[in-house]
Amino acid sequence: MEPRPLLAAHDLSKRFRDRVAVDGLNFTVEQGEIVGLLGPNGAGKTTTLRMLAGIIGPTSGTATVDGVDPAREPEKVHESIGFLTETPGFYERLSAERNLAYFAGFYEGIDAKIAARRELARMDLADRASDRVGTFSKGMKQRLALARVLLHAPRILFLDEPTAGLDPEAARDLRDLIVALRADGCTVLLSTHNLAEAEALSDRIAVFRTRLVAIDTPRTLRERQFQRRLRVRLVAESEACRAALQREEFVRDVRWLEDGTLSVLLADPDRDRPRLVTRIVEAGGQILEVREDERPLEEVYLNLVGGEEA
């Protein structure tokens, strides 16, 4: 029997009066995966997370989270998920520990105070445990928010803009933590506007624009959008090399780029790469480097979102 996905959405849609926020969403997420959700503002990322978390119900369609329908049994889903909301609020007049203990107090079978102290220590906030949250910096609040999400050791994490507004060091620490959580078996749905972050963390990327435009690994998304080209850097530009390559049947296109490298499109980049190197050497070229011409994820994203807009 095929293993059941941990998260699944089937034709999931949400309307707010006349406005369609999410339209016919279909996707699955396997255990231990990190899936990055990308899309412009208002694309439906947060609404999707809220529906999967059972905070709002879908207008149509269904979802399952660890085998449970969040629209029917939201409280059961909440036992196994942690949801980092986009604007993580706190009771600012109360201490960090009191805030965490309050949230921990809603979960069965955990000692609220112990859980609060454990997570404060993990987030390097133990020495500020008794300080009012109102005195915390934005970065500290974001760490505290993540501590709150982890109080009950959830198997699934929904993170909505987790590094928004953090300084680079704090953002890196948080990314490291996400990677460590995945290593512990956590499944993560990560909504972000930070493309580099999405690419660095995600096994797959889902691009939204009210509906799901594409979902796949960053590499496959690139390949679907752009042909795989190779870049060849020579000791010196050689028109003889370019002419020699142009005559080969396995070379579909070859051109000089502004930076003096050759951009080559092969019939089969993996199979034909050794032949390419051989031909260049035979034509007298001295090769410094041959590498994949990797398009930035930003181009892939803009192409996907722009294509959808058109």
Partner: protein
Amino acid sequence: MKRRITNVVRMEWAGIAATPSSLLFLVVIPLILVGQALFLSWVVPRFVNPEILGPAGGNADTLRLLILRQFPFFVLLIPAMVANVFATLGIVEEKVSRTLEPLLATPVRTWELLTGKILSGAVPGLVVAWLSAGLFIAAGYALGWGALLRICLTPTFYLSLFLLMPAVSLLSFVIGVIGSSRARDAKEAQNLAMVVVLPIFAIIGLQVTGLVEFTPLRTLFLSLSLAAVDILLLRVAVRLFGRESIVTRWA
């Protein structure tokens, strides 16, 4: 279930304890109301023009008794104001500090959250009102008005204290919740919800002017009518307090 409701109540009280102004409100308003009632009962009969008491043998005690008999209705202002302030503090502040969505992502059920808030807001108002009534009676006896107070401690008094007062307290809290769902901050919510004290002034006015005398039956009827209004408004509040409303409209 009980654990989660207790958790909400304890947190609400921790929040109140961390706000000195709300503690002050909890103590000062009842003291002012009790003090005012005692002062009026003492000063008015003492300094009133004897002609007002009338030629037919009216005396200061008659006037004092008239004032003392208003107290059960006068003290209704305490739970009305306290519950209202706690409702707006407990909900608008969550709204302003954006803690409701993270709360809704925990296993707490909406009704548990609301029950916890009602218990933490309406109950202190009620307890403070009962304490105030006790203080009023004790002070009355200390001032030598025991005989007059015994006349006042009628079934109407007890019905007012133990039936009408909880109904008013809940009404005030629920209107506070409804006001909070529409308001942008605690001040605006309190302004909206303070309308709840107007009917109480009307009750006091009706009683003082003698237009309506609150017999036990009438007090019972009024209490049950208010309880019915409470149930209706509670349904409205629960709808407004629904997850989707909070996330999509309250934010």
